[in-house]
């Protein structure tokens, strides 16, 4: 497969509602930004892009079937090839990887991946219903379909199994909201305390309103290219920052839609099929897991995301990453809930299963130059969600995974200051980052690794 580079991106302002523009025009905001950042005119980019991939989650929200083709024509991309991808909350991550495939395979040289969601067209509780329809409509949805409830059940099990606390979860909320304070694209830019998070309105015990991301309208776009595509764009006048940002690894995983159907495998099965190489290489970790299993832990059950671990392992292998915590300079991961960020620390091998809670409160996933007002025992090692993540930026579903890609590109290009007009969130000497996109209760998960050459 050919090398693939992520060369540009754009994000619309994420907001609770964008009645000022239809979804096509909101996508165009992100799309135009990505083109402008390349230094190209709209016609010059149109003449050089080979095709596109479009992402949006719900036909219910848009009440417009085949919405993607209407975006394609609004962007002036017809008759170039395109298709829509959909995979719940992971739609944006899947879209990014589909664009990667088009280039890696040699089918195209320049591809734009764009995604959007318009969640404001229905009232919040109807929106919750639409999202909950992404659960089994025979057996899950009619019992009380509510995604926050599903994730809350997962975390009660995580808490019982591993001793994870609500205060540890609140650390994630404090971190991500405060990071977003420096991100002008974010929907919620607030300073909170652990107590604020716990005092917020209870939504699904133990998750409060500040443990949960909000619904948004918004769009994002990224441009991916081969070496030949970069030459073509530069010949047309593009000013692409060098060193380039290369996509060095992609991984995906899945799990059963019904949480109830997920397996509870024994120790040997876990070690053979799911443990990271790093975990297998550590006698101490093997002993730690043996003790967990002896104590009754089974995997993944409902406390862990097998799809996330599978996607991470695949992407790490592809990118030759042995120790993600020290080798990755940052991760933008899918924190629809504070609890799912903690679960994902474990899936991605930043810590061992069962240690996500203490990891969240350790400081290792925080930024070094922000005063969070928390007593953090450890120095930052691998900032997680330096942008503010879904909890603070918002979660316009089809755009979210692409938003992560855009922020990752900017981190690796060292251009956060240009785009945010604030350099606080720029990670010093960032060379390697991961983006992680996750669909309902861990059904589809993608992990992509981006590196500065």
């Amino acid at each position: 497969m050919r090398p693939v580079y992520a060369i540009s991106g754009g994000v619309s302002k994420f907001a609770k509602t964008r009645p000022d523009k239809n979804y096509q025009a909101v996508i165009k905001e992100a799309y135009d930004y990505a083109i402008d950042d390349l230094g190209l005119s709209f016609p010059d980019f149109t003449n050089n892009v080979d095709g596109s991939v479009a992402a949006y989650f719900s036909d219910h929200f848009s009440r417009q079937l085949m919405a993607a083709i209407m975006a394609q024509d609004y962007l002036g991309l017809c008759p170039k090839p395109s298709h829509r991808v959909e995979g719940g909350g992971a739609t944006g991550g899947l879209c990014f990887q589909e664009a990667w495939k088009s280039i890696a395979s040699g089918h195209m040289d320049v591809v734009v991946a764009y995604g959007f969601e318009t969640m404001s067209h229905v009232e919040t509780w109807k929106g919750n219903e639409f999202i909950a329809l992404a659960s089994d409509v025979s057996f899950d949805y009619p019992v009380g379909g509510f995604y926050s409830g599903y994730y809350a059940m997962m975390v009660t099990r995580h808490m019982k199994e591993f001793g994870t606390t609500v205060e540890q979860m609140a650390h994630v909320s404090v971190k991500n909201h405060l990071n977003a304070f420096h991100n002008p694209y974010a929907q919620k830019r607030n300073r909170y305390t652990v107590q604020d998070v716990r005092d917020a309105t209870m939504v699904a015990w133990p998750l409060t309103r500040l443990d949960i991301c909000v619904m948004s309208d918004g769009a994002a776009a990224t441009v991916l290219a081969s070496e030949e595509g970069i030459r073509k764009l530069e010949k047309a006048g593009a000013k692409i920052p060098h060193p380039l940002v290369k996509v060095t690894g992609i991984g995906r995983g899945t799990d059963a839609m019904r949480m109830s159907d997920r397996p509870h495998v024994d120790y040997d099965n876990f070690i053979q099929n799911y443990a990271t190489q790093q975990e297998k290489d550590s006698q101490e970790t093997m002993k730690y897991y043996k003790e967990l299993w002896d104590h009754g832990t089974r995997y993944p059950g409902i406390h862990s995301f097998r799809a996330g671990r599978t996607a991470g392992n695949m992407a790490y292998k592809h990118a030759a990453i042995q120790d993600p915590l020290t080798e990755l300079d940052f991760i933008e991961l899918h924190d629809a809930y504070t609890s799912s960020e903690i679960q994902t620390y474990e899936d991605l091998g930043l810590c061992r299963y069962g240690e996500g809670g203490p990891f969240a409160a350790s400081g290792k996933a925080f930024l070094p130059n922000i005063e969070y007002g928390l007593d953090l025992p450890d120095e930052p090692i691998c900032p997680v969600n330096p942008s503010g993540g879904l909890i603070a930026c918002g979660h316009p579903v089809g755009a979210t995974g692409l938003m992560q890609a855009v922020f990752a590109i900017w981190q690796l290009q060292g251009s956060i200051h240009n785009h945010f007009e604030d350099k606080t969130l720029q990670i010093k000497d960032a060379r390697k980052g991961a983006i992680h996109s996750h669909a309902g209760t861990g059904t589809y998960v993608t992990v992509s690794i981006l590196e500065k050459e």
């Binding site: 109807k126 899950d140 059940m153 015990w205 997920r262």
Partner: protein, 181 residues
Amino acid sequence: MAKIPKKQLESLGGTIVHNLPFPLDTSPEALAWLKKMAPILIEQPYSIVYLHSYAQDSPWFAGLTNKKILANRDPETGYTYATPRGHDMYTGDETDWIDITERKAAVHAFTVCHFGSESFLEETPYVLVLVEFEGVDTLLLSRLTGIDPEQANLDWIGMELKPQFLRNSKLKPTDVYFIPA
């Protein structure tokens, strides 16, 4: 003490409008002003009734109407699904029906929903549980009643449960629910 709301609840509905402000002429200046207009928002009702088939899972619902909880079991391996599944995910074989009504049941995980989807808002706070059954490999999502939702705590996990059945079946998975044993 209950929190005092700072916002009025938003809702749709309202006044029917039959005309909108618009320039009295279409001079270039007047048309240029149109770009400064706030957007028009209209309501678009949409409803549909689906004829949904429970298909091969239908016996499970018929079981509930007769106060029985059925499960599916792989005929070779014995792997057992508390939530119906016509084919085993490991062997690919068609599963058989078994009766697990009398099996010991316990809370595997839970939450108290203080909010919910529109369809369930009036039922809040309600307790969702994933139920584990003795000798069964997977779980069942259900409702738990008979406990105070304001007293949620992790000790609920592991609590033994017994099933209750609606006398007047609705042919929904909520025809069965659980109470502390």
